[in-house]
Every structure is written in structure tokens, then in C-alpha cells.
């Protein structure tokens, strides 16, 4: 015992110890720096997007005083459909009425700068509140693209004095435009809305989820629980892993060749888009599903088998509930990627100009990322803000989707 | 026999056996010295035998304590268990053998006129038989040899026969020489003690048999 050398007291040991502590410090700081850098980049992205996009939710309007008592427009009784009411008002000359009053209040050159859709907005107000027809009201109607550009200080130099005058007089202003969220694509940046693309994204995501989730989960269950371990299953595993890494445009080509080849009349429909994206998302779900199922301890399976549960009961009563958090995580990742995919959907034709929101899974549609892509191509300055606003909508959609999935995952989280 | 995986157990068993062997050696010596003292009238030697018996008592206490400790700490099974139980009982028996020798030694001073006593010459031979039995049975214990133990049991018959003849001899002596009755009576007790030592040696032999095989020898006439 007395010959035992105290190894912790030598100088060499002290030096090594100092080095080890230094390594610890460096590692901690490097990690912290990495996190801070990532947060900084993220904040930069959010701030830039918000700053650019907030303007996209606003619209430049002209305030037009109209005295409907003088005009004698009427909404015929029994007009149920909004579309029919608007057509009726159009045939009654609402457009001219609006134009006339605008000219009276602000001058002919201002009236000419009303948006082509301005009368439709007035019609919408009337349908909403028919009592307007018996009153004198001031309606905020959208200005034309050119005037709104001039208001912002861009565009034609000739219109700028007009814009300034109207603004000073209180006719021209910038206000929050909730209609952006309920309108669809248009050629006029003042008249565009995101709802068409949003609905298209929702429908496409629903199709993707409905196809990818069950097939992916069942495939993962089969591969983990039932499939024998031989060369064929190894091959399948390798193939699925590779599929997850394939560039998304390849899936677009596949969709084009197979799905559109089979159903050519369904070009740019959410169902085709959904099927294509499902092909892309399924491998991700299978991989994360397999890992989650593998992580369920064999003691749970043994306990269930020993009680006399059949293999199916073991899987659905015991393994799947415990693997669900992991599966949902994989699904979140897959769906988030699918939401932001543009290339494959462009290939199957969801790049068209779609002016009305899709009314079903088989109607032509477009999706948020494609809409953003199309708008970013437009030259009009008004579209720049709309594009950023659309990006914000996309990010919010993603957030909601992820939030829902995380909530579901936490609900099912159980310890074993 | 293979060693225990836990070597300390083997050491404990060895120490236990050593204690028994020591007790056996002391008991054997006590028999021999007690008879020598008796025959030569050496009272000092007799006193030594009495004193040395205390050592035997101490050894028995030590064997007791060690056996209890081994039972509690080692949880012995099968032949280990039987050996320890046997050691416990054998120690008690050997201690009693020692007591008999002590008893013989105590009577040394009470014999008068030894040169004339014929029976006095018989007793050393009987004592030798008994001492041999004790020696052999403890050898059988150390060797875990049941056959040797059986053989010792059979020898008890000879000791009993010896006792019968000494008894008759002393009785007839007492009848012929009533003056020698008190001394002769002492010798009767001595012979009795030697016969009892022989019986106890067979008890030890039975325990040796049990330790080795798990059963008692049932088919030997005693």
C-alpha cells in the first residue's frame, strides 16, 4: 500500500487536466456559438420577410362617396346566389355608377385610376348589406395598380402628382386588406388573393397525408414485425432509404409519366399533386416509422405474446401506440417538406394561372410555393409585397401543421 | 475432491477439521496418560491430565462457534452441510471422552497397594484398545472414509468383551479380598469409563458415516 504512487499529483497530470478542461470549454462555446448563429439567421429571415410582407396585406383604396338613393339600383327579390346578384347589379350598370361618382368626387383622371374590379367590391358590399342601396355611403374601392404604385413612390412619374393630391385630400389611402386571404390569383396586383393557392395546398396536403401515412405506417409495421430477415428485405430497406434521398423533381417526372398518362384530364388537380407528393413523403414515414417501432422494447412484445395476444393484437394494441410519437415526428418532417415542394408540382402542371379556388380534389389548382414562384416572376412592383405576404402565409400554415402534429405527439407520448 | 470456487470456504473447512483433529489428539493422549498415572501411581501426571481437560473444553466451544458461523455465512449444501453438522456433534462427543479420561485420572490417588492388583495390568491393554479406536475414527473423519468408520464400530465388541472380563475379575477379587473393595471399586469405575469411551468412539464413527454418505450404518450389531 505504501508503494502506491499517487498519480493525481504529478505535473504531467495537471497539464493534461488543464487541457481536458480547456477542451470542455471550447466545445461548450462552439455549441453555443452555433446555436446563436442559427437563431440570428432565423431572426434575420423572419424580420426581413415580415418587413417586406406586411405591406402585402394592405391595399391602396380610393374612398368613393356614392348616393344610392339617387341611382335607384335594386337587388331583385329571391336572388339567392351571390354570383347571380352580382351579375344582376352588373347588368344594372353598377360599374358606370361607381365611375360616375368617383369622377364627381375626385375628378375624371382619378376615376380612370379605379381598379377594374372596383365595382365588384362595391357589389360585394351591397350583397352583404342591401340597405346600402337606400343610403349614401362612402366605399373604399381598390385603386388601379398604376395608382397604387405611384402612391408608393414607384411606377409612372406622371401619376405621382395625382397620387399626392388624392392622398392629401384623404381619398387615397393604404389599409389592411383581409380580402387578400379570401381572393384568388389575378393579373392585377391589387386584386390578387392567396386563398386559391391556400385551398389548393390544403387539398393537396390532405391527399398526400391520406395516402402516405397509412401506406407508410403499414409498410413500416410489415417490414419490422412480419418480414423475414433475408436478402430481399435488405434490398427493400436499401431501396427505401435511397428513395428518401431522390431529388423531388424526379417524382414530378414520375407523376407526369404515370399519373397524368393515366388521367390526362386531371392535369394540375390536387389529387394528382397529392399522389406525386405522397410518393415522395412515404419513404420518410417508413424510415422514421421503422426506427420508432424498433425502439419499442421487446419486453413489451414478450409480455403481450405471453398473455396470449395474437401478432396483430400485439402490433396494434401495444407496439403502435408506443411507436406513434416517433411516427408522428417522421410524418411532420415529411409533410413539411411536401408543403414546400415546387418542382414536382410544376412538372404535373400546377403552374397554370388559376383564377378561382379549386372546388374539389379534381379541379385545377395551384399550391402556395408555386403561387409564390409565379408572383415572384411578375414585373409589377405590387407583386413584390404580395409575394412576401404569401411567404408569410406559407410559414404560418407550416407552423399550424407542425403545431398540430406536436400536440398529437405529446398526447400519445407514454413512458414504458 | 475439487476445491470450492470461494477459497475462503475451503480454508474454513480445513480449520474446522484441524480443530477436530487437535481435539482427537488431546483425547487420545489423555486416555494414555490417565492410565499410565493410574498404573504407576503418579499423582502429578494425573493432575496434569485433569488440567489439560480444560483445553478440550475450550476447543469444543471453538468448534461450536465456528460451525454456527459457517452455517450462517456459507449456506453449505449436501456433503459440506453434513460435514459441519457431524463436526459439531463429534466435538461434543470427544469432549465427553476427555471427561472420562479426566475421571480416570482423578482416581489415581485412591488406589492402594497397586503392586498386588492383577486387574491393574489388564486395564492398560483395554485403554490401548479404546485409544486406538479414538485415533482411527478421527482418521476416518479426516479422510471422510465410511468403511474405516464401520470397521471401528465393529471393534467395539472387543472393548465390551474386555470390560466383561475385567468386571468378573474385579468382582472375584473383591470377594476374595474384602479389604481391597474400595480400591477395586475405583478400578471398576475406570473400566466402565473405558468401555464408555469405546461406545462414544462408535458414535463418532456413525457420524463419520453420515457425513460421507448421508445415512447411518444400520446393519452393524453393537
Amino acid at each position: 500500500m505504501s508503494e502506491h504512487v499517487n498519480l493525481t499529483r504529478t505535473a504531467a497530470f495537471e497539464k493534461r487536466l488543464k487541457r481536458r478542461y480547456a477542451a470542455e470549454r471550447i466545445f461548450r462555446r462552439a455549441g453555443l456559438a452555433a446555436i446563436l448563429f442559427s437563431i440570428a439567421v432565423l431572426l434575420f429571415l423572419l424580420v426581413t420577410m415580415t418587413a417586406n410582407g406586411i405591406g402585402g396585406f394592405k391595399r391602396v383604396t380610393l374612398s368613393v362617396p356614392i348616393d344610392f338613393t339617387e341611382v335607384g339600383l335594386a337587388l331583385p327579390q329571391g336572388m339567392e346566389g351571390q354570383g347571380m346578384a352580382i351579375r344582376s347589379l352588373e347588368s344594372q350598370g353598377l360599374e358606370e355608377v361607381v365611375s360616375f361618382y368617383a369622377g364627381q368626387a375626385m375628378g375624371e383622371d382619378a376615376a380612370a385610376q379605379l381598379s377594374a374590379d372596383a365595382w365588384r367590391v362595391a357589389a360585394d358590399h351591397i350583397v352583404e348589406d342591401p340597405s346600402i342601396l337606400r343610403r349614401r355611403v362612402e366605399l373604399d374601392l381598390p385603386a388601379s395598380e398604376d395608382l397604387s404604385a405611384a402612391y408608393a413612390g414607384d411606377g409612372q412619374a406622371a401619376l405621382q402628382p395625382l397620387a399626392r393630391r388624392l392622398a392629401e385630400q384623404g381619398f387615397l389611402s393604404d389599409s389592411f386588406d383581409p380580402g387578400f386571404l379570401s381572393r384568388s390569383d389575378a393579373t392585377d396586383s391589387q386584386a390578387v388573393g392567396i386563398w386559391g393557392a391556400l385551398k389548393g395546398s390544403i387539398l393537396t396536403m390532405l391527399v398526400t397525408l391520406a395516402l402516405a401515412f397509412p401506406i407508410g405506417v403499414l409498410a413500416a409495421l410489415y417490414l419490422e414485425e412480419y418480414a423475414p430477415r433475408n436478402r430481399w428485405t435488405d434490398l427493400i430497406e436499401v431501396s427505401i432509404n435511397n428513395l428518401a434521398a431522390v431529388p423531388s423533381i424526379i417524382f414530378g417526372l414520375l407523376g407526369l409519366a404515370v399519373f397524368l398518362g393515366a388521367f390526362p384530364y386531371l392535369r394540375s388537380a390536387p389529387i394528382i399533386g397529392g399522389m406525386t407528393l405522397a410518393l415522395m413523403t412515404m419513404p420518410v414515414i417508413v424510415i422514421s416509422g421503422r426506427n420508432a417501432i424498433k425502439a419499442v422494447p421487446p419486453s413489451i412484445r414478450d409480455g403481450a405474446l405471453a398473455i396470449g395476444a395474437s401478432p396483430v393484437q400485439v402490433v396494434f394494441h401495444h407496439v403502435l401506440p408506443l411507436a406513434l410519437p416517433g411516427i408522428l415526428t417522421g410524418t411532420i418532417i415529411g409533410m413539411a417538406r411536401a408543403l414546400g415542394e415546387t418542382a414536382p408540382l410544376l412538372m404535373i402542371g400546377m403552374r397554370a394561372f388559376v383564377a378561382t379556388p379549386p372546388d374539389g380534389f379534381t379541379a385545377p389548382a395551384t399550391v402556395l410555393p408555386v403561387q409564390i414562384f409565379l408572383w415572384s416572376d411578375e414585373i409589377d412592383r405590387g407583386f413584390v409585397e404580395r409575394t412576401s405576404a404569401a411567404i408569410i402565409v406559407l410559414l404560418l400554415f407550416l407552423l399550424v401543421m407542425n403545431g398540430l402534429a406536436i400536440y398529437l405527439r405529446n398526447r400519445f407520448e407514454k413512458t414504458w | 475432491m475439487a476445491e470450492h470456487t470461494v477459497k475462503a470456504f475451503d480454508e474454513d473447512i480445513t480449520r474446522l477439521r484441524g480443530l477436530i483433529a487437535e481435539m482427537g489428539g488431546l483425547a487420545e493422549l489423555a486416555i494414555q496418560e490417565a492410565l499410565e498415572a493410574l498404573v504407576t501411581g503418579d499423582e502429578e501426571l494425573g493432575q496434569q491430565v485433569v488440567e489439560r481437560d480444560k483445553r478440550l473444553d475450550r476447543l469444543e466451544a471453538e468448534v461450536d462457534a465456528m460451525a454456527v458461523r459457517l452455517l450462517a455465512l456459507r449456506a453449505p449444501m449436501a456433503d459440506d452441510l453434513r460435514e459441519i453438522i457431524a463436526a459439531l456433534k463429534i466435538a461434543g462427543v470427544v469432549e465427553r471422552i476427555g471427561d472420562y479420561s479426566k475421571n480416570i485420572a482423578k482416581r489415581v490417588g485412591r488406589i492402594e497397594g497397586r503392586s498386588r492388583f492383577e486387574p491393574l495390568t489388564l486395564l492398560p491393554a483395554m485403554g490401548e484398545l479404546a485409544a486406538e479406536m479414538v485415533h482411527d475414527v478421527l482418521t476416518a473423519y479426516a479422510a471422510r472414509d465410511p468403511l474405516m468408520a464401520r470397521e471401528v464400530i465393529e471393534r467395539d465388541a472387543k472393548v465390551d468383551a474386555f470390560y466383561d472380563s475385567v468386571f468378573r475379575n474385579l468382582v472375584s477379587h473383591m470377594v476374595e479380598n474384602p479389604a481391597t473393595i474400595s480400591s477395586a471399586a475405583q478400578l471398576l469405575f475406570v473400566a466402565r469409563n473405558l468401555e464408555r469411551i469405546g461406545d462414544h468412539a462408535t458414535n463418532v464413527a456413525e457420524m463419520v458415516h453420515f457425513a460421507a454418505l448421508g445415512t447411518y450404518p444400520t446393519d452393524i450389531e453393537r
Binding site: P228, R229, P297, S299, I300, R301, D302, G303, A304, L305, A306, I307, G308, A309, S310, Q313, H317, H318, L322, K414, T415, W416 | M1, A2, E3, H4, T5, V6, F9, A75, P76, M77, A78, D79, D80, L81, R82, G214
Partner: protein, 260 residues
């Protein structure tokens, strides 16, 4: 210690020349043994001697291992459990198993016990199920400790309680045989003693086979003991005889600690 009478009844389970292979490796070599309901039978032996593998052959849990193969015949009430057409799911309801590490389901205590009867259809209606759950928990000696918290998670119990819950779960499907694979090896002495007492109480109602590493436990808990070595059944007999006067040299070497 309870005196037991020699059994003249037909053995509950009977193994004849059973061999178990993992691929080419023979883990159990031609073992034959009778299991009676009256006795708790203990399987003892050094690590790797095949006792756990042999135990798992009695409820066909070896089937879950791909490379495992069983030869020979194991009968339950005279019927070969390895014959084709034997319903494994039903077999496992008749031959239950308790594992070394307690493995309650991550569900409530009530659900743990009720799951078996529910999937086998042994109980009709909630009242029936409640009765089964209470009876099983009482028999496992756990009722008083958990009756006020049946909805708590089964995994929130202590180790010993979890193991008794697993026993209650096994009992709930009214098995005829209970296989226990080192049920107390992960528990502290007090929990172990409770399990051993429970085994004593269950004796006679179910045929119990217990695999244990502890010879003292086998000595305390069983009436019949089988010693395994390198896949062979070396000696089988009354527990008291095995531990005081074993016939085979290998048995003696193992139980006196001279093995290896």
C-alpha cells in the same frame, strides 16, 4: 414446511426427448421431465445450461426467435403442443409466463390485468371484468396496495409491485401452468420474499415451474428440483434430497460451489 404426498395423478405437462436448437447449436439435449400441478418445480443450473430455453419451450415462446427449432414432444394434458394445428394464442392463455424483468404494459393497473381476459373474451361486461381484476389482484397479493389507484400507470409501481402485477396479469386469464423465468432476480430481499410467499400460495392451484439462479431460492420455494448442465438434465428429484444428498457428482459440485 408443508408435507407433500407423492403424486399419483397424471402429470400436467410432460416433456419427452425435447431438444432445442438455435440454428446448428443445440441448447437443450434430449430432456424428459414430468410436471405435476401439486409441486413447484425448480430448474437450476449454471449460466448457459439451457434451463431458460427449455422453460420457454413450454409455451412456445421460442417460436418468436427465427432460428429456434424444437424437436421432441411436449404435452399439455396429453396433447402435443407442437403438433400442427395447435393454436399458439390459446396455448399461451393456458400456459402463462412471468419474466425476469417486470414488464407491465404502459397502461393503467386495471388495464394491465383486464387486457388478457378482454382479448380472450373471458369476461362479459364491465362488472365481470371488475370482478376478474379484483380476484386476480387479490390472489397476487396486490389488491390492498392498489385498490384505490387502479387508474394509475402500471409502470409507476415499485419493482416488487410491478412483478406482482405481472403475476396478477398472468393469473387473470386463468392459466393451468405458470412459467417463471427468474422472477425475483431483479428485486430486493423483501420483495423477493413476498414473491416467494406468493408462489407458495399459488402452489396446487397452478402448476408452477421456476427457473432460478439462486439455489437458496430453489430450496425455499420448490418441492421438485431439476439440475441442468450444458443442455442435459443431470438430476431430477425431491428438493430436500437434491440439496442434502445429491446422487450425481455434477449436481453436488454445483450446489456446494465447487463448479467452475
Amino acid at each position: 414446511m408443508v408435507t407433500d404426498l407423492p403424486s399419483n395423478a397424471e402429470p400436467k405437462m410432460r416433456a419427452r426427448d425435447v431438444s432445442v436448437f438455435y440454428g446448428d447449436k443445440k441448447a437443450v439435449d434430449s430432456v424428459s421431465i414430468d410436471i405435476q400441478t401439486e409441486y413447484v418445480t425448480a430448474f437450476i443450473g449454471p449460466s448457459g445450461c439451457g434451463k431458460s430455453t427449455f422453460l420457454r419451450a413450454f409455451n412456445r415462446m421460442n417460436d418468436t426467435i427465427g432460428s429456434a427449432r424444437v424437436e421432441g414432444c411436449i404435452e399439455l394434458d396429453g396433447e402435443d403442443i407442437y403438433k400442427s394445428g395447435m393454436d399458439v394464442v390459446q396455448l399461451r392463455a393456458r400456459v402463462g409466463m412471468v419474466f425476469q424483468k417486470p414488464n407491465p404494459f404502459p397502461k393503467s393497473i386495471y388495464e394491465n390485468v383486464a387486457y388478457g381476459p378482454r382479448i380472450h373474451g373471458f369476461a362479459e361486461g364491465k362488472a365481470d371484468l371488475d370482478a376478474v381484476v379484483e380476484r386476480s389482484l387479490r390472489r397476487a397479493g396486490l389488491w390492498d396496495e392498489v385498490k384505490d389507484r387502479l387508474t394509475d400507470s402500471g409502470t409507476a409501481l415499485s419493482g416488487g409491485q410491478q412483478q406482482r402485477l405481472c403475476i396478477a396479469r398472468a393469473i387473470a386469464v386463468e392459466p393451468e401452468v405458470i412459467l417463471m423465468d427468474e422472477p425475483a432476480s431483479a428485486l430486493d430481499p423483501i420483495a423477493t420474499a413476498k414473491i416467494e410467499e406468493l408462489i407458495d400460495e399459488l402452489r396446487g392451484r397452478y402448476a408452477i415451474i421456476i427457473v432460478t439462479h439462486s439455489m437458496q431460492q430453489a430450496a425455499r420455494v420448490s418441492q421438485r428440483t431439476a439440475f441442468f448442465h450444458l443442455g442435459h438434465l443431470v438430476e431430477y428429484g425431491e428438493t430436500s434430497q437434491i440439496f442434502t444428498m445429491p446422487r450425481e457428482e455434477r449436481t453436488k459440485d454445483y450446489i456446494t460451489g465447487r463448479y467452475g
